[in-house]
C-alpha cells in the first residue's frame, strides 16, 4: 500500500527506472491531497458562525476522508492493472491460436486498465464538486486551500486522462472506445469546473 510508505521512499521509487509507480500513482496522490484539503476546509467550517452550514460541512469532511482512502486505492489498482497489460504482451505469439489468445488477453487487460483511471476521474470530479460547495460557505480564512484542493483534483484528472487515452487507442472494440471517449469528455468538463473554483477563490482573495 502506497499510504504506508514514507514520502521520500515513494519519490525515490517514482524517480527510478521501474514502470510503476508512475503517472497512475502521482494522479492518485494528487486526488488524495485534494480530498484532504477539502476535509480540512470543512472541519474549519464549524461553530456558531457557520451554524447554518455545520451539518453539511460535517458530511463533506466525512465524505472527503473516504475519498482519501479511495484515491490511494486507485494507485494500487492501477499498478496491478498495468502489470496485467505488460504480462499479456509477453504471451507467446508463434501459432495462429497463440496469437488469437494473446490478442484477446491484451484486449481484456487494456480494458481492465481503464478502470482505475475512470475511478480516479470520478473521485476527483467529486472532490471538485465538494470544493464548489465550500467556495460558497467555507471558512474564508482557509479559502486558499479550497483552490489548492481544486487544483490537486484537476491534476489528478489531467494525469488519468493521458493514461485513459493511451488505453482507448489500444482497444479494438469501437463500442468500448466510444463509451470511454464519452467519459473522457466528461472529465474535460470537470477540469473546466476546477478552473472556475480556482478563479472564484482568486477573485475572493483579490477583493
Amino acid at each position: 500500500m502506497i499510504g504506508s510508505e514514507t514520502i521520500s521512499d515513494y519519490l525515490e521509487r517514482l524517480a527510478s527506472r521501474e514502470p510503476t509507480p508512475g503517472g497512475g500513482a502521482a494522479g492518485a496522490l494528487h486526488a488524495a491531497q485534494g480530498a484532504a484539503l477539502v476535509s480540512m476546509v470543512a472541519v474549519y467550517t464549524t461553530g456558531k458562525k457557520y451554524a447554518a452550514h455545520e451539518d453539511r460541512a460535517k458530511q463533506i469532511a466525512s465524505r472527503a476522508d473516504e475519498l482519501i482512502s479511495a484515491s490511494l486505492q486507485t494507485a494500487d489498482d492501477d499498478e496491478a492493472a498495468f502489470t496485467a497489460v505488460v504480462e499479456a504482451y509477453k504471451l507467446p505469439s508463434g501459432s495462429e491460436a497463440e496469437r488469437s489468445t494473446r490478442s484477446d488477453t491484451i484486449q481484456r487487460a487494456v480494458l481492465g486498465a481503464t478502470e482505475p483511471s475512470l475511478a480516479l476521474i470520478r473521485l476527483a470530479t467529486e472532490i471538485i464538486e465538494l470544493s464548489e460547495e465550500l467556495v460558497d460557505f467555507g471558512n474564508p480564512n482557509v479559502v486558499s486551500d479550497i483552490a489548492a484542493a481544486a487544483e490537486a483534483a484537476r491534476a489528478a484528472i489531467a494525469t488519468a486522462l493521458i493514461t485513459l487515452q493511451i488505453n482507448i487507442s489500444a482497444l479494438k472494440d469501437a463500442g468500448e472506445q466510444d463509451g470511454l471517449r464519452a467519459e473522457a469528455d466528461r472529465a474535460e468538463r470537470a477540469i473546466d469546473r476546477a478552473q472556475t473554483v480556482s478563479q472564484r477563490v482568486r477573485e475572493k482573495v483579490a477583493a
Copy 2:
C-alpha cells in the same frame, strides 16, 4: 521534514484542523512528484537508441533529483514563514508604538512568506522546461509520464500562485507589490507552457 513522514500520516495532518500543512505542502509535493517523473523518464532515455541524447538525459536526471529535495524543502520553509505571519498578527496593538512595531513586523513576515512561494514557482518552472526537452527526445514508452510531470508542476505553480496573491494583497509597499505581480505573470506563462507539453503528449499518444 515532510519527506520522512508516511503518506498516510501526511494526508491525515493535511486533513486536520491545523493551519499547516496546507496548500504550501501540497504544492511542494506536486512539484516533487513532477521532478521525480522527469527523472524517471530521463533514466529510461539511455542506451544505444538514445546515444545522441544520453549525456543530456543524464544531466536532466541528476538535476531532477536535486529538484525533488529542493521542492520538499519549500514545504518546510512555507510552514516556518506562515508561522511567522501568524505570530506577527498576535503582537500587542494597544499603544501607537506597539501598533507601529506590529505593522512593521507583519509586513516583514508577509514579505518573507512570499519567498517559499516564489522558490516553488521557479523550481516548478524548471521542471516544465525539462519536460519540454523530454517530449522531443525522451523514450516514447514513458511519454505519458512526461505529461504527468508537466501536470504535477502546473498544479504546484497554480497552488503557489494563490498564496502569493494573498500575500501581495497584504503588502503595503507598492514597489514590492509590482515586483511580485511581475513574478506572478511569469508563473502564468509557465502554466501555459505546461499545458502545451501535456497537449503535445496527447497528440503523440493519439497519433
